[in-house]
């Protein structure tokens, strides 16, 4: 383990924070030892995958794993146009080589997007292209040996599938597509990753990533309701499994217990309360996250998504709204209709699904919510665009709504807002370093190193604009930053939920405490608007 000071940001000779995109020294193989724990046979079996580590089978691989891996690769190139076109099309121009946060943070050349892709591409070439079959040395084609497989496991788990490289590639080659395929292949030869596969098992058994059973979830929500009532004097509810509610809220289970996620959840509850919405959570679909995307398993991703559809049908809701979660929003926005649609049983007047930021912004635009922005005056905010929201989804009607709507919400509830440098936000945003199924303590070193570009960008606005806090709308980003911020010399609590800011500032009609209570006396508009 590293000393804390290792990651502290050091100013350059001009006294400036180093550029987040600064080229690192080239250190081949320096991250070869950083790999997440492997799934055992129980975990593998729970998802219908073969193999996995057992007492007798230390490497966990199935018999004839080479053959099976190659045949899976062939199957996937026939099922995914992205994979086939991307394996064929790369010209090795080098445009992506300095775009990955894991490369910028480590200098390991295999973390350059094209080099990461090549780990699979060279095997594809060997088995599926003419040149690779007859003149492998010419085109860099190799057989799938145990070493190559080991490299796959290592470096496809040093990719957070953030898609930053795909923004810059002249052919739009998306390394996420390749790393998802590689993980799918590895799962089918017994080389699954413990973290993702164990979590998916919990979703199927219990309903959420945390393995929080229904009773515990209900108790948690009751506690939160008490806390909200204490704070505001209002009976703000967090209903669960409420038949006939209008809105089903699906949110990452981290929102039920971790900070700053939970403050965000209370923010959603206040917004729903003030808007007079009839909403509910579901114990069956008590998880927005869908880690099946990270492991590239369409079938598993579909099964997890169908839980949300079933919850919506069973509860008879009219709308589905997702809480703050990055990859969940990608699966929800981009894939849910495909995986679990059509949603013709829901109210056609609303998009399916909606993001909580879309919901809140809509309420703000309608004038239904009032805020006392001064409640957030102790902070100067910036916003971290989460990769899956930024580069793989949208909010609102217009391209780029995923950047504007969260910022609009923040600006509606805060007086002090500053953006980080242009090449580190919006579609060029840097990953937090923990996305894509990497948010596990067994690879803490790559997580910290991968956070470096974002940390530098944050440091820059901290020094130039006095930014104190960074808001995010992703459970993984929030958890990752809570962990790595102190390593880089920031306050652990410098990461906040967007709806935590909303929660701080919202003026609740009839509140006896908090911002609402003062406003009640002199702000009649708030009362009128709430009616």
């Amino acid at each position: 383990m590293h000393l804390m000071d290792d990651y502290k940001i050091v100013h350059d000779e001009n006294g400036e924070v180093p550029d987040p995109s600064e080229m690192p020294d080239f250190v081949p193989g320096c991250m070869a030892g950083s790999k997440p724990f492997r799934a055992n046979s129980d975990i593998q079996g729970g998802l219908g995958f073969p193999g996995g580590i057992t007492e007798d089978n230390k490497n966990g691989l199935v018999d004839n794993w080479q053959e099976k891996a190659i045949s899976k690769l062939g199957e996937l190139t026939g099922k995914y146009r992205s994979l086939r076109v991307y394996l064929d099309s790369c010209v090795k121009c080098g445009a992506c080589t300095d775009k990955c946060h894991y490369f910028l943070g480590t200098g390991d050349p295999k973390n350059m997007p094209v080099a990461r892709q090549d780990l699979l591409r060279k095997v594809y070439r060997r088995h599926f292209t003419l040149a690779g079959k007859y003149v492998p040395w010419l085109v860099g084609a190799v057989d799938l040996t145990e070493d190559v497989l080991e490299d796959w496991y290592t470096y496809y788990h040093q990719c957070s599938q953030c898609r930053r490289c795909s923004v810059f590639c002249p052919y739009g080659i998306d390394t996420a597509e390749i790393s998802m395929a590689a993980r799918e292949i590895m799962d089918h030869v017994g080389m699954g990753q413990k973290y993702c596969n164990e979590i998916l098992g919990k979703v199927f058994k219990i309903g959420n990533n945390l393995g929080l059973p229904q009773k515990a979830l209900e108790a948690t929500l009751e506690d939160l309701e008490e806390e909200l009532e204490e704070e505001t004097g209002l009976p703000i509810k967090l209903p669960i499994d409420k038949q006939g509610a209008d809105i089903l809220l699906v949110t990452p289970s981290a929102d039920f217990f971790a900070s700053p996620h939970i403050e965000g959840l209370m923010g959603y509850a206040k917004v729903f309360h003030e808007a007079g919405a009839n909403w509910t959570l579901s114990s069956y679909a008590s998880e927005a996250a869908n880690f099946a995307m990270f492991i590239g398993s369409y079938e598993t991703m579909r099964e997890v998504s169908l839980r949300i559809r079933k919850a919506a049908e069973d509860l008879g809701v009219k709308r589905i709204v997702f809480g703050e979660c990055g990859h969940a929003w990608r699966v929800a926005y981009s894939f849910l209709n495909t995986l679990a649609g059509p949603f013709d049983f829901l109210d056609p007047n609303y998009p399916v699904p909606q993001h909580i930021c879309e919901y809140t912004w809509d309420q703000i635009e309608q004038g239904k919510l009032k805020f006392d922005k001064s409640q957030n005056d102790h902070m100067t905010l910036t916003f971290h665009d989460s990769c899956n929201v930024a580069r793989a989804s949208r909010m609102g009607n217009k391209p780029g709504g995923q950047f504007e709507i969260p910022r609009n919400v923040i600006k509606a509830v805060c007086n002090n807002y500053v953006d980080m440098a242009d090449d580190t936000i919006r579609e060029k945003t840097f990953c937090c370093g923990g996305g894509g199924g990497l948010l596990t303590d067994d690879i803490m070193d790559i997580r910290k190193k991968g956070a470096q570009p974002r940390m530098r960008a944050l440091k820059e606005v901290q020094e130039s604009h006095g930014v104190t806090h960074m808001a995010a709308i992703c459970a993984i980003c929030k958890a990752q930053f809570s962990k790595v911020l102190p390593e880089f010399g920031f306050d652990r609590e410098a990461i906040v939920s967007v709806h935590q800011l909303v929660s701080n500032a919202i003026i609740l009609t009839g509140a006896t405490e908090g911002p609402g209570s003062e406003a009640m006396d002199d702000d009649d508009d708030a009362v009128e608007a709430a009616e």
Binding site: S82, G94, A95, C169, E177
Partner: protein, 246 residues
């Protein structure tokens, strides 16, 4: 003898190039894209996607965002190559179209520009450690091949002229399936041999980026997954399979 060999070579090259490319395109076309994965922000209409693709193909929009040097050398090479190819149309036409006639003087400059762009790209491949690391022998040889084609072509213009009237007769002949005599000076034979080689390896190499970009789901998909359900045939079968089980 040389004429016959080159005639056969070019028939073969055209066959492999056109047939191989058609097969690849067919394969890309028929391989489903089961999920909506446009890199966002993405256009929300088909027209928007056409425009995005046009910017990508004509001005290399993403590459411009990425790296100005690669973009400059890349666009110099590709634009010049386009002009050079247009210039060569005159060997296949009788009479020559006006637009091709007008292109002729630019074609010469384009020949130099093309080679300059290629040399720039090659220099980066050799001297930038990141790009050297990702280069296989074939990546160097591909540039060498293109440079050799460009250089041998330029040398016929500026060093040692060939009998271009006969060359034209040869190609017009090929188009009518008759073999006319081809001049046998080494520069010309080198130039033509390398072009035939390029055509033959095209469908089996990274040159597939040319058709590939049009099939790239991150660039060619409309951002409308909430409005329209997107379902691949194999994914649809999962649904009927599940229905049967129940």
């Amino acid at each position: 003898m040389v004429s016959t060999i080159y005639a056969m070579l070019f028939y073969l090259a055209v066959l492999v190039f056109a047939g191989g490319l058609a097969m690849r395109i067919r394969q890309y076309w028929r391989t489903p894209a089961p999920l909506k994965i446009p890199t966002t922000p993405a256009p929300t209409t088909k027209t928007g996607v056409w425009m995005r693709m046009a910017r990508e193909v004509l001005v290399f929009e993403s590459l411009f965002k990425s790296n100005k040097w690669i973009w400059a050398f890349g666009i110099l090479f590709h634009a010049a190559l386009a002009v050079v190819i247009l210039r060569h149309f005159r060997y296949f036409q009788q009479p020559v179209w006006t637009v091709i006639a007008l292109v002729q003087p630019f074609g010469v400059y384009a020949g130099f520009a093309m080679v300059a762009g290629l040399l720039g790209l090659w220099a980066r491949r050799i001297f930038v450690p990141r790009i050297r690391y990702i280069s296989a022998p074939s990546d160097h040889l591909m540039l060498l091949l293109l440079i050799a084609i460009g250089a041998s072509g330029l040398m016929m213009k500026f060093v040692s002229h060939t009998d271009i009237v006969s060359v034209k007769m040869f190609f017009l002949g090929l188009m009518r399936f008759t073999i006319e005599p081809l001049p046998s000076d080494p520069l010309l034979l080198t130039h033509l041999g390398l072009v035939a080689l390029l055509m033959i390896i095209f469908p089996f190499s990274k040159l597939l980026h040319a058709p590939g970009v049009f099939f790239s789901p991150t660039r060619n998909q409309v951002d409308n997954p909430r409005e329209f359900r997107h379902l691949a045939a194999w994914a649809a079968r999962l649904e009927t399979g599940a229905a049967k089980k129940n």
